[in-house]
């Protein structure tokens, strides 16, 4: 019997880059195919070919045995191939129901939207993805995780034959992930073919039937999940043995450098107090929407506070704007690097230089291009940013390298306190390990690090201590000696 979707000998090159070389893979009905690989391995290109965004230079696609050559995204949609991207594509100010049926709204002969039917259908789909909100809710009011479930509901509304999910769990909490996986299993039983792209290998092992490893644009290995183990998979991805994901910690913990007392930001979080010491890595765990990101932003001066105070190195500081935070030696690596961290169409050089422009100038006024170049060259070398040069635009870098640019810029202000918000979200295993090493190295040099992450393994591996937030308050603290995932989830979900 013909495969549901089959790609044979697909190649795609961009000027200067061979993105895919002779890739042959297939997907059957009622299975979940995992695709793993480092960033830049070609996963996105492969998916964009399936989605009709790119046309392959060579090779062919077959859909249920018939030649299939999508020339534009519409062609793939019409064929029942739905790609759910990492970047969500919802309209924030319309209702959940309207978003689900966007472009496909039920209407009467006069073109009036049939609200009742719309909301009814939406309700059914929302139940299938396990999202408990009213269909009339505006998407803007939902968290990122909930928005993702809306996207999946939208895919369900389109009679999908093939659903491709690009990093669907990157922002989901464990509870939401459980619901997502239940949805995926239900779709699989219904005969849909699913492609699951993820950096979280545990999830790949949990949900996928077969796993393909992409490396440098080639499909290097494709085997049933049962024939893989985690070490083997990572080795196939990076082509080198990985001793351990988390380097050992040797940092000496010193004095309190950041003291937050009763910090409150109305509507976001309340009465948050914490102490962070030099050399310490402090984790901030909790569900999406618990207020973790907001705490970091408030400390950084990017979110107005309505009470409490912040002390840096035992001095009261007034931080009204990010500039004040930077001056006080505090740096933030924001959660959403594309929306908040980078100016995507600008070069690495411009992005790295952005926080220290006056220092890179004569008389703090006229830019000194040489100084900017040197700063950027250093960042590229120190952080091993893979790029053709400092003039390359950051939008053409892989996620991991983009994140390194954001971190590189944070380092230029010589901070003693780092606020890291989901520092490894959406980046590949290799880059993750590099970020972990960097965090350790910074701590060993005496920096104090406050890290927010939804990846529990990451927090357990990195931190000296973990604080747990729930609905805008600190719900508990767990020292390293008592680390266990159950303990932390208990605090986060139940208290």
């Amino acid at each position: 019997m013909a495969h549901l979707l089959e790609m044979t000998g697909v190649s795609k090159a961009f000027p200067g880059v061979k993105a895919l070389t002779d890739v042959s893979i297939f997907l059957d009905k009622g299975e979940v195919l995992g695709i793993v690989g480092e960033n830049g391995a070609g996963k996105s290109t492969l998916m964009k070919i399936v989605a009709g965004v790119y046309t392959p230079d060579d090779g062919e696609l077959r859909l249920e045995g018939e030649a299939f050559a999508p020339r534009q995204p519409r062609d793939s949609l019409d064929a029942g191939i739905i790609v759910i991207h990492q970047e969500l594509s919802l309209v924030p100010d319309r209702s959940v129901a309207e978003n689900i049926f966007l472009g496909n709204l039920p209407h009467d002969r006069l073109g009036r939207v049939r609200r009742k039917a719309l909301n009814q259908h939406a309700k059914t789909l929302l139940a299938r993805v396990g999202l408990d909100v009213a269909p009339q809710t505006r998407v803007r009011q939902l968290g990122i995780a909930q928005q993702q479930l809306v996207e999946i509901a939208r895919a369900l509304s389109r009679q999908a034959r093939v659903i491709v999910m690009d990093e669907p769990t990157a922002t989901l909490t464990t509870a939401e992930q459980t619901i997502l996986f239940a949805t995926i299993r239900a779709l699989r039983s219904a005969g849909v073919g699913l492609v699951f792209i993820s950096h979280h290998l545990e999830e790949v092992f949990e949900i996928c039937d077969r796993v393909v490893v992409l490396r440098d644009g080639a499909a290097v290995e494709m085997r049933p999940t049962s024939e893989w183990n985690e070490t083997g998979l990572i080795q196939a991805m990076v082509n080198r043995p990985i001793d351990a994901l988390f380097p050992p910690r040797h940092a000496a913990i010193g004095d309190v450098v950041l003291a937050v007392e009763g910090l409150t930001s109305a509507g976001h979080f309340e009465d948050v107090s914490l102490e962070l010491r030099a050399g310490e890595v402090l984790g901030l765990a909790g569900l999406i929407g618990a207020g973790r990101t907001e705490v970091l932003k408030a400390i950084y001066g990017a979110l107005p506070i309505s009470g409490g105070r912040v002390r840096v190195q035992s001095r009261d500081v007034v931080i009204r704007a990010p500039r004040d935070a930077i001056a006080a030696g505090v740096a933030l690596v924001p959660e959403d690097r594309k929306a908040e961290g980078l100016v995507l169409p600008f070069s690495i050089r411009s992005n790295v230089a952005m926080s220290t422009l006056p220092r890179l100038s004569w008389l703090r006024t006229v830019l000194a291009p040489g100084r900017m170049d040197r700063l950027a060259e250093h960042a590229v070398a120190d952080l091993r940013i893979r790029a053709s040069g400092i003039g390359q635009t950051v939008q053409s870098l892989s996620g991991g390298n983009q994140q390194k640019v954001v971190i590189g810029r944070a380092l230029t202000t010589k901070p003693r306190i780092f606020l890291l918000d989901e520092p490894t979200r959406g980046i590949d295993v290799g880059a993750k390990v590099e970020v972990y090493r960097l965090i350790n190295a910074l701590a060993e040099q005496g920096a104090a690090i406050l890290v927010v992450s939804s990846d529990m393994i990451e927090l357990l591996g990195l931190c000296d201590r973990i604080l747990i937030m729930r609905t805008g308050r600190i719900a508990g603290a767990v020292p390293r000696a008592e680390f266990s995932q159950e303990r932390i989830m208990h605090f986060a979900a139940l208290g």
């Binding site: 990017a302 600008f346 411009s350 422009l357 830019l367």
Partner: protein
Amino acid sequence: MASNLTKPAESRRFGLGSLVRAVNELTIIVGFLAISIYLAVTTPTFLTSANILSILLASSLIGIVAVGETFVIVTGGIDLSVGSVVAFTGVMTGLALNAHLPVPVAILVGIGIGALSGGFIAFAVTFLNMSPFIVSLAVLAMARGLAFIVTNGNTIFSFPDSFDNIGGGNLGPFPVAALITLVVFLVAGLVLARTVFGAEVYAVGGNREAARLAGIPVNRTLSLVYIISGALAGLGGVILAGRLDSAQPIAAVGLELNAIAAVVIGGASLFGGKGSILGTLLGVLIIGLINNGLTLKNVQPFWVQFIQGAVIFGAVLIDSLNQKRRRA
């Protein structure tokens, strides 16, 4: 920073996008030459020195205003008020002259009022979080209204010769106004491309939130661009009054359209983060050529308006197709 902006990240499919990009980057100059050659061949008067001078004079007003508009547009904003501000500052300068204030003081009155009007827009945009489009539209109406109020609708005239020289005089063979314009372009070009402030303007336009989190003083940057735009409109008002030896409340109607068109033709994006003073210079010259050509070819004034609108539409269309390609 500016030089990186025009380089595409990578070329993708050879579709409308790459065509548009080629159009954007190369054809400004080619188009400029093509229009020039066409006019030189088909009209007897185009290549006369009187005509070229008149193009330069007309372009100097659009040019000075377009420079300010470039700063605003690179931050992702827009200033629709500039035409009215030219008229209002022109009549205020005229009133100052007729009140026998010294010429330099009268000039400062014009530029200062322009800066104040820009400051008003800046305040509304930064502190009150209002949309620059709507605020500057309101100021467009208010400034025009004030110009009529203070003059009672009359033209103000008979200025001292030393003042008229600014707009209409010559320094050697060159019109003073064109020389002032040249200086404005040079200084603005350096400021935008080579200073901290310029880099901040690009960053704010490229991604305001990222710029804020990177510690860039976003509100200060935004305020300054509107003040610069207003002050340069004031300078434009002074030059126009000097050239005409009179100041009319009805002057410079629709000038903002020409200025915005010049900036966008010059490769700036209305989405922000992209644009250059050199591009704007080319855009201004093309607008000047088109306006001049329409006069030389005796095109009906009604069609002139239409064609100017169509040119703006075309430029914005290219910008928005570029943007789409960038997002793809």
